[in-house]
């Protein structure tokens, strides 16, 4: 029996066990939308902007580990997805994005709402397809899901011309995918892993640097076992947070530009770095040629291009983190160096004294709310049992510093692209994946306005997401740089007029709270959590607070600057509306 392209689309999603997609309709995808109208197995979450749809799918994917699926129309619908796709590409989120396209005979004619989305997204997708014939559709969808979810995951786009969705073909679902040009490698090279084990046994001052790959591969248990077995401390990139318990005594927290003093010191003084699923972003390494000058580097990554892209590597291991760590542990246990604790003793002592010397701190204040205080309170009240998303800027760094992530997939943050406007739709996606979990977006007053329209999506779908706006009335991270490096010339970083976020929430049918004093922070958070509805919390925080420690751009990561001790907020606070 022949099916239409639209029917094949639905059939394929069922085979891929997709029950939720995110999207927005338009002319060329109406054949599909018509089928979704009374389809009981697939639910479409109508966002209010296509960027929101992609970020929501991304949040859904990061929280659940399943691929996120998006359906949008051609032209502007498709171009609106580009930021979301680029964001997913940088952070290796598995997505399959379907964009409608004008009918094949019109492609290339500058037809109404035509955009060359395959051309536009070529550099920011793992792969993309233009379906030219309905008979290819099932195979392409199969391949798209396969490519998106295997190897180093990433977004895949399928461009679906209108006549392909209306054309008919036999439905043939390929059970197996065979692509001669794409064969991701999972098992690490045995010999290299043995080399790595040798280095680990030899090293006196080893550090594990864990990245997002730990979370993608589900290798967090193996990582913990490795760290505990060998007594090696673990620092994480932003993407790696939650890959190792933040409350563990071997955790050094995040490293890099706003990393902890002790993480950066440990890296710079180490004799061995075991980098696991991390790609040595410049926010992590600081000035590359000053990075970890005394260390040998073992680098485990599923993507060969990550290895030796930015830093020299002594033991490269291409493979899946979970499997490589499993093999590494086996070898380490067989060679049976029993005295691990003994070997690491003085190193761990050194790290302890760095921890004591300069712990992660901020200065509390009785009268103005410190943003870190809000994050800390959220952590205390939830006891860490929440999915946290962030926007970008200071809010993101404070969330990374002051919330301790013990489990993988509990921090969803835009790392590689640094996309303001990611956190809120991502929270919506995460809440859809986990209706019963507490999901909180730690936001900035600037970022939240980049996808604030998604409040409608949250309200209509009865999603009780919470948004904690650290409202400093500034594009705070920009302001911080201007304060420190541009003689306090706050060029276009002041958000003179922001809307009244409480009223905005109410206008959308959500709930809004405001806290202007430290004493109001806890009650607001508790109340917000109690309410089973979407809530905006407007925390009026001290506008001049900065994220510390900080490594200035282009410096070595042990060249940190710190908040001057006991520095009190100036008397002249900006008038709060």
């Amino acid at each position: 029996m022949k099916l239409s392209g639209a029917e094949i689309f639905i059939e394929c999603l069922k085979r891929e066990k997709v029950d939720t997609i995110f999207g927005y309709p338009g002319g060329v995808v109406l054949n599909i939308f018509d089928l979704l109208y009374d389809n009981k197995e697939i639910r479409l979450i109508l966002t209010r902007h296509e960027q929101g749809a992609v970020h929501a799918a991304d949040g859904y994917a990061r929280a659940s580990g399943k691929p996120g699926v998006v359906l949008v129309t051609s032209g502007p619908g498709a171009t609106n997805t580009v930021t979301g796709i680029a964001n997913a590409y940088m952070d290796s989120t598995p997505l399959v994005v379907f964009s409608g396209q004008v009918p094949t005979p019109l492609i290339g004619n500058d037809a109404f709402q035509e955009a060359d989305i395959v051309g536009i997204t070529r550099p920011c997708t793992k792969y993309n397809f233009l379906v030219k014939d309905v008979s290819e559709l099932a195979r392409i969808v199969r391949e798209a899901f396969y490519i998106a979810t295997t190897g180093r995951p990433g977004p895949v786009l399928i461009d679906l011309p209108k006549d392909v969705t209306s054309g008919k073909a036999d439905f043939m679902w390929p059970e197996k995918v065979h692509m001669r040009s794409y064969n991701p490698k999972y098992e690490g090279n045995r010999w290299m892993i043995t080399q790595a084990a040798h280095e680990i046994a030899k090293a006196k001052k080893a550090v594990i640097l864990a990245g997002g790959g730990v979370i993608h591969s589900g290798g967090h248990k193996e990582l913990k076992e490795l760290a505990e077995h060998t007594h090696i401390p673990v620092t994480m990139t932003l993407m790696g947070l939650g890959g190792f318990p933040g409350t563990h005594s071997l955790s050094l927290g995040m490293l890099g530009m706003h990393g902890t003093y002790y993480a950066n010191m440990a890296i710079q003084n180490s004799d061995l770095i075991i980098a696991i699923g991390a790609r040595f972003d410049d926010r992590v390494t600081g000035k590359v040629d000053t990075f970890a000058p005394h260390a040998k580097i073992i680098h485990v990554d599923i993507d060969p291009t990550s290895i030796r892209k930015n830093v020299r590597v002594d033991v490269p291991i291409v493979g899946d983190v979970k499997l490589v760590l499993r093999d590494m542990l086996k070898i380490l246990k067989e060679t049976g160096k029993a005295q691990w604790g003994e070997i690491r003793k003085s190193w761990l002592k050194q790290i302890d004294s760095w921890k004591k010397e300069r712990p992660l701190v901020y200065y509390k204040d009785d009268f103005v709310i410190k943003p870190q205080f809000v994050v800390e309170k959220i952590y205390e009240i939830t006891r860490g049992d929440a999915i946290i998303t962030t926007e970008v800027g200071q809010n993101q760094m404070w969330a990374a510093q002051f919330f301790k992530f013990d489990r993988p997939r509990t921090l969803l943050s835009s790392g590689g692209l640094g996309t303001m406007g990611y956190g809120f739709p991502a929270a919506i996606g995460a809440q859809i994946a986990f209706p019963d979990k507490l999901v909180i977006d730690i936001a900035g007053d600037g970022s939240i306005q980049m996808n604030i329209q998604e409040l409608a999506t949250a309200v209509i779908n009865k999603l009780p997401v919470k948004v904690a706006i650290l409202n400093n009335q500034y594009l705070g991270m920009v302001r911080q740089w201007q304060e420190l490096f541009f003689r306090e010339r706050y060029s276009y970083s002041h958000l003179d007029i922001s809307p009244d976020f409480v009223k905005v929430a109410e206008a959308y049918g959500a709930v809004g709270f405001r806290a202007t004093k430290p004493s109001e922070v806890e009650p607001v958070i508790k109340e917000a959590i109690k309410i089973k509805k979407a809530v905006f919390m407007d925390f009026r925080v001290y506008w001049k607070e900065k994220v510390y420690p900080m490594v200035p751009a282009g410096a070595a990561i042990d060249q940190m600057i710190f908040e001057e001790e006991e520095k009190k907020p100036e008397k002249k606070l900006k008038a709060v509306k």
């Binding site: 395959v118 051309g119 070529r122 692509m179 040009s181 794409y182 993507d303 060969p304 291009t305 030796r308």
Partner: protein, 162 residues
């Protein structure tokens, strides 16, 4: 250093743009790029001449391999291999120089593929040095146009270069 990289790719729409996009997006050089079919019409072969230090060349080959449509990447520079390039040169020598130009073409085992009232079009095939030498020699006689194909390369049987 200069490398000649040979890439087997799926003969699909958009592949060339994926490859050239990779080079431009990451700021790698392309000195020349040729594409053609192989015996299997579903597979094309590209020969790319590029320059970079070892680390860049390593990245280029890895990045090429990472592209979904790429089947195989071979850095010919590491192998014993043969390279050829072809050039078509249209020269317009003065009457008294015509014989000399034709003699040069003969020495270089070129062919005359077209001739007009004032011009000859010559075809020369060879490695880069030969082509460049030829061009230098005929330049004084007046080159009106010329078109180079870019390099193609193929490995010799077996042996690794020492």
């Amino acid at each position: 250093m200069r490398h000649t990289i040979s890439v087997l790719v799926e003969n699909k729409f958009g592949v060339l743009s994926r490859i050239s996009g990779l080079f431009s997006g990451r700021g790698y050089n392309i000195e020349s790029l040729t594409v053609g079919e192989t015996i299997d019409p579903q597979i094309s072969i590209m020969t790319i001449v590029t320059t970079g230090d070892d680390q860049i060349i390593e990245q280029i080959t890895k990045q090429l391999n990472k592209l979904i449509d790429v089947i195989k990447v071979t850095d010919m520079t590491e192998l014993d291999h043969v390279e050829r390039e072809m050039v078509l040169v249209k020269v317009s020598p003065k009457q008294e120089d015509k014989a000399e130009v034709l003699r040069l073409a003969e020495i270089f085992r070129g062919r005359i593929v077209d001739s007009g009232p004032t011009t000859y079009t010559l075809e020369i095939t060879g490695d880069e040095k030969k082509i460049e030498a030829f061009i230098e020699l005929v330049k004084p006689y007046g080159i009106k146009e010329f078109a180079r194909t870019g390099k193609v390369a193929i490995s010799r049987e077996g042996v690794k270069k020492k």
